[in-house]
Amino acid sequence: MSPDLVRDILIATVPLMVIFPTLFAFTTWLERKALARIQNRIGPNKVGVPLTRYGGRFSLFGLGQPLADGIKMLFKENIVPRDADRLFHLLAPILALIPAMLVLCFLPIEFPWTESLLPVQAFLLDGAVIFFFAITGLNTLAIFMAGWASRNKYSLLGGMRAIAQMVSYEIPLVLSAVVVVMMVGSLNAAEIANAQAGWNWFVFTPWGLAAFVIFFIASLAETNRSPFDLPEAESEIIAGYFTEYSGFKFALFFLGEYIAMFAISGLAVTLFLGGGAGPGIATLPWLSAMWFIAKIFALIAVMIWLRGTLPRLRVDQLMGFAWKFLLPLSILNILVAGFAHFIPQENIVSKVAVWVVSLGILYMAAKGLNQLNRPNVRPRDYKYAE
């Protein structure tokens, strides 16, 4: 390996390793603030600027909060339970973080500094989408490792739940991405993004919209976000697989979870939301990266919103939803996409017809599946005794 190549790799990847953890810190602050506002609270605003005697006076909306949390966690004692498997207990949080970090490199974000470094531009990898799913699958292993190595029954339950959930939701996730791959004819993330240049985002097609919704729901489950946060369900199994983790190992899990959120949102942006496409990139190319990150944050904002609003599903309903609802729907969507592709869309009438017919088919299918799965759930009437 030539020194130049090493230098290029470092220049291409190290900024990613810096930018996303920083964004992670910002996201935790954003999440706490947003949840607080949803709940009529103020949220963190007292922790100020460190090191000065007047730090308390300049609290900057509590932006110091993630820094304080980070420093605290770094120095917090690390406890390994006596009966735990020490090696796997140590490896699990690392393994949870690494795949999430790895796939970040394959997001087609056109940072200004990567333009001159085409040889190592990782997103030129031809099988980027496949690679993405292969690597994120490792996350499941890490979570099960954590649950198993902790020697805690709640951790074990959490690990088992995580395996069942992630393996199930991987399938609708991949199948909904297949539509895009079919249409573009390439697994290359950059080519997929380029195919949507301008306003030709796939989310603005009937099959793309359906696939995006399925993809987003499945990605919530993949990243253990509410309402699919069963592996770490607080009211049921304490903290799930990371019940026995303290200090920096816990912080690593936390970091890994958020990076995975960035990664999967980034993939959603690549596949459906036009990648870095947006107004103004023709004149200012670096805006492309800004747009990309802004779109990621838009998706994350929706995740936070859902977290503040929805209760959690039960484990059997969760599995049923993946297998009995999302899976048939995503397969049907592939067929719909195929037909839509071969119907000539020259004038506005045919376009509208394609939209109406496609969404109509998908809507009827969704309704039917819903009826099949849960026929008897409805609001009830009550009587009054005088």
């Binding site: 607080a36 007292k46 730090g55 110091g64 909060q65 917090k76 607080e234 019940t243």
Partner: protein, 218 residues
């Protein structure tokens, strides 16, 4: 709120520090940064015992909002918590669990004894199943009286705790000097807990009228 000058090694009085700061030089120690961090991010344990737990929850709600101080992250597992708020009556049946949970918490850790019952047994002190104060088994940092204390008092006790943390020195902090503080978990006997208190953290108050044991029992 100003950060107290906590520099036992270097004697730097406040005026000098202020002058230096005016000149653009911030003189500080790792202690200050670390204490700022752990004081601003005290995560309590989701741990309710009795009536006081409701006021503890109320202190996290919209009107009082403990999250302003960075403490709304109630962790359900002791492994990730910094602060145990003993909120309510500790019965003898519950005391071993409380000590066990304290032992499970990683250092540095703090305890707030919330309410009269947790401090001394409170109105239930004469009961046969009531522990007369959790400080018999674990060290308590802040005593928060009241029956139950108002949510504002919970916030104030948190502020006192943060104040206490800011003046701590890593070199003499018990959290770093003696490994994880673990105290023996009391065991059930026929009538009471054994031992009835932990002599390491608590000694019965001296009785000025104490009689020798033989006389008293005679």
């Amino acid at each position: 709120m100003t950060t107290p000058n906590t520099s036992p090694g270097i004697d730097l009085d406040d005026t000098t520090r202020a002058e230096l700061e005016r000149a653009g030089v911030i003189v500080s120690k790792v202690d200050t940064l670390y204490n700022w961090a752990r004081g601003g991010s005290v995560w309590p344990l989701t741990f309710g015992l009795a009536c006081c737990a409701i006021e503890m929850i109320a202190s996290a709600t919209s009107r009082f909002d403990i999250s302003r101080f960075g403490s709304e992250v109630f962790r359900p597992t002791p492994r990730q918590a910094d602060l145990m708020i003993v909120s309510g009556t500790v019965t003898k049946k519950m005391a071993p669990q409380v000590v066990r949970i304290y032992n499970q918490m990683p250092e540095p850790k703090w305890v707030i004894a919330m309410g009269a019952c947790a401090i001394s047994g409170g109105p239930f002190k004469q009961g046969y199943n009531v522990l007369k104060g959790i400080d018999r088994y674990i060290p308590v940092d802040v005593y928060l009286p009241g029956c139950p204390p108002r949510p504002e008092a919970v916030l104030q006790s948190l502020n006192y705790l943060q104040e206490k943390i800011r003046t701590q020195d890593i070199q003499s902090d018990p959290a770093f000097t003696a490994g994880r503080r673990q105290y023996p978990v009391p065991e059930f006997t026929g009538t009471d807990l054994e031992p009835p208190y932990n002599p390491e953290v608590w000694q019965p108050p001296a009785n000025p009228n104490a009689q020798p044991l033989e006389e008293a029992t005679a």
